[in-house]
Symmetry: C2
Subunit: 417 residues, 2 copies
């Protein structure tokens, strides 16, 4: 009998009606003769309400106590889903993180899973029960309740799938799968049948928002077959697996983009071994999320460094840099806001060195100014004025053959061959 | 360094302001150099909201899952109180039932504590931390979360006090202590300085509502010194201990009363060994709470049985008795509603056989009809028409020297002696 793991996020369990629907979906899998483990998040906005309570008490809530507080949200959901399953005549049992044997580092609010002791879980599965596991949470070696940080329930699901050697790990969400680009912006965006871990990882990191990067990385490391699919509609989702064979002929698999970025340039830093580490440690300690980083050496051996941050953190970053001018020894700071990042992603790029050049040409032809550029093995990102973000995305989408009609064309060719 | 245990109920932690006040009270005890363990309940109406969610899903929620659901309430409170303590600069840590080592039977919704493993708790106390424990909950041998049933947080506090050999166990509540009678009805009611476990047990069982009987019994068994006091006002409370020595000269320590009762009389049951057990097992299985029971034999060897129940359960009880007429073989049923029970309690009664007679005389002088009577070692209860409840209570209160002015008189006498 094969085991399947599935995960439902906060919006999928947002109210009693939705919880009953999740129970029906679980029943369906049980009726197919599978062993079913289901990971759920806290109901809709319940986590926000708990955070609000904490904020009413203190500006700096203790991390251990935040974990104690927030993990109650998932605990509520698992018990309610089991009640709904029992109402449908399905035997089921709920397990908190510690009851499911999810062991983590002794770190609060962002712990990593160190091990999963599946004994209890497997005993319940062997008894023929549907098992509900509270996502996002675990227990440290000294018995403290911990949480896995953002996207934690995805990670719980993937980790359980790995530990139980599950057939698949389905992530039910509010979209029907992974798209070539965000369909709210790019009208020709279409859903992918499959995508590789690395491509998904780039898309996830680039803000496509369907799956948490950490969960994708975990899935890649343990070769867990992931399926992203809709909790509302009964349609095929997107498979995330090692080799996305179905569409190998596509060099670019998808696009990601986000706006609200600011570029900061710090000019004439001293060219010393510790300059970059000092600078970015300062920003990290202040919790400022730095995305792209570019370093250039001037002809007289100084360093010019540019990076992008969220515009909302600009004030904090500027204050910090000013306060540390003596330490950092730069000559001046410039910044430019109202920027966006557009990225193309595809593992086919590795063997196609001309892709970046093609991308710059497409953007040049549209007279879109490039503010910054960075590349990885399977992605190229360009920072552009945010007013051109959608135009850039649409042009790239069409050029790299991602449009819905293009797919039809490619498939027609395939059939003739 | 002595250890103290204190418990704050749901109304005492009903909102953020009250939680901060509880934190201040804990800080005060810490500043006195005590090791402080605090047990808290769920915030105000939060348990009701969780029950509502469950009821929206099913009419018969699974007991294990109800425990999973409801224990989140106390978990929220402990984390918030610790945050408030840290805000005051007090080092503190929260522990769920299982983290505090509270082991129970493998029973849901009404488990009894079997053992407390204080290792983790004592380690935190020895580190100088204020320890917050989630009331009402524990863990069974097989790792399931359990709850202790009604009054569970009182029981948690008393059990911890016993296990930690605490100096005292203070139960903070919305009254200032234990009264000779409910002050909302009896204007001359006054607060007792002390009361014995047995007296408190009678008062608790008789519906005085300040402390749960189970907690009092636990305290008696382990000789835990209990203090009932106000969470709002800084006043001395009432000490519950083995020998309530301060006021030994009082034969009657207090009065309890409740209305909304119905007396059911079942006439001419067969005089067999199993008649009573069959009858009351039936009522118990249906969840009908029977209070007083009287059995009389008729001259021709049949049995007449009367008992009191809450009027709200009358319909259910009558239906049940009718449905089982063939099994029970009675001739007829009568019932009388709008009744109240008035009880006098005091360990001094044991050696004063005339107390019951005095009580009947007081009620007779007031022309209050006695519908039923029952007695225990330290209590006498009378069922009367509910319109006379308060009058009966006031007359008895005055007669047995419980009125506020009487106390002054007694103390004046003591001083002269």
């Amino acid at each position: 009998m094969t085991t399947v793991v599935q995960k439902f996020g906060g919006t999928s369990v947002g109210d009693v009606t939705k919880i009953k629907r999740v129970a029906e979906k679980i029943k369906k899998r049980m009726d197919e003769g599978k062993k079913v483990v289901t990971v759920v998040s806290a109901m809709g906005k319940s986590t926000d309400k708990l955070v609000e309570l904490a904020n009413d008490i203190t500006d700096s809530p203790d991390p251990r106590e935040m974990d104690m507080l927030l993990t109650t949200g998932e605990q509520v959901t698992i018990s309610l889903v089991v009640m709904a399953l029992k109402e449908l005549g399905v035997d089921a049992v709920s397990l908190t993180g510690w009851q499911a044997g999810i062991e983590t580092e002794d770190v609060h609010q962002d712990a990593r899973i160190t091990d999963i002791n599946t004994e209890n879980l497997e005993a319940h599965l062997n008894d023929g029960k549907a098992v509900l596991v509270a996502g996002f949470q675990g227990v440290s070696e000294n018995g403290d309740i911990t949480t896995l940080g953002r996207g934690g329930s995805d990670t719980t699901a993937v980790a359980l799938a790995a530990a139980l050697n599950a057939e698949t790990c389905s992530i039910f969400t509010d979209v029907t799968g992974v798209y070539t680009a965000d369909p709210r912006y790019v009208k020709n965006a279409r859903q992918l049948d499959s995508i590789s871990y690395d491509e998904m990882l780039e898309l996830a990191n680039l803000g496509a928002g369907v799956l948490h990067p950490r969960a994708v990385e975990f899935a890649k490391n343990y070769q867990v077959s992931l399926v992203v699919r809709s909790s509302m509609e009964e349609v095929e989702g997107t498979i995330v697996e090692e080799e996305a064979s179905m569409e190998q002929n596509l060099i670019v698999r998808g696009l990601a983009f986000e706006d609200g970025l600011t570029k900061i340039t710090i000019e004439r830093l001293p060219n010393q071994f510790d300059t970059m580490s000092t600078l970015f440690s300062l920003l990290a300690e202040e919790g400022i999320n730095v995305d792209m980083i570019i370093q250039q050496n001037t002809s007289d051996h100084a360093l010019n460094v540019s990076c992008t941050i969220n515009t909302s953190e600009l004030g904090k970053a500027i204050d910090l840099l000013h306060d540390n001018k003596a330490t950092l020894c730069y000559s001046l700071i410039r910044h430019e806001s109202s920027l966006a990042k557009v990225s193309i992603v595809g593992s086919g790029m590795v063997s196609n060195p001309g892709v970046a050049a093609d991308m710059f040409k497409v953007l040049g032809d549209e007279e879109i100014e490039l503010k910054m550029v960075s590349t990885s093995e399977i992605a190229v990102s360009a920072v552009v004025p945010d007013e051109y973000m959608v135009k850039a995305a649409e042009s790239l989408h069409a050029y790299f053959g991602l449009d819905a009609n293009e797919k039809a064309k490619i498939e027609a060719v395939k059939e003739i061959v």
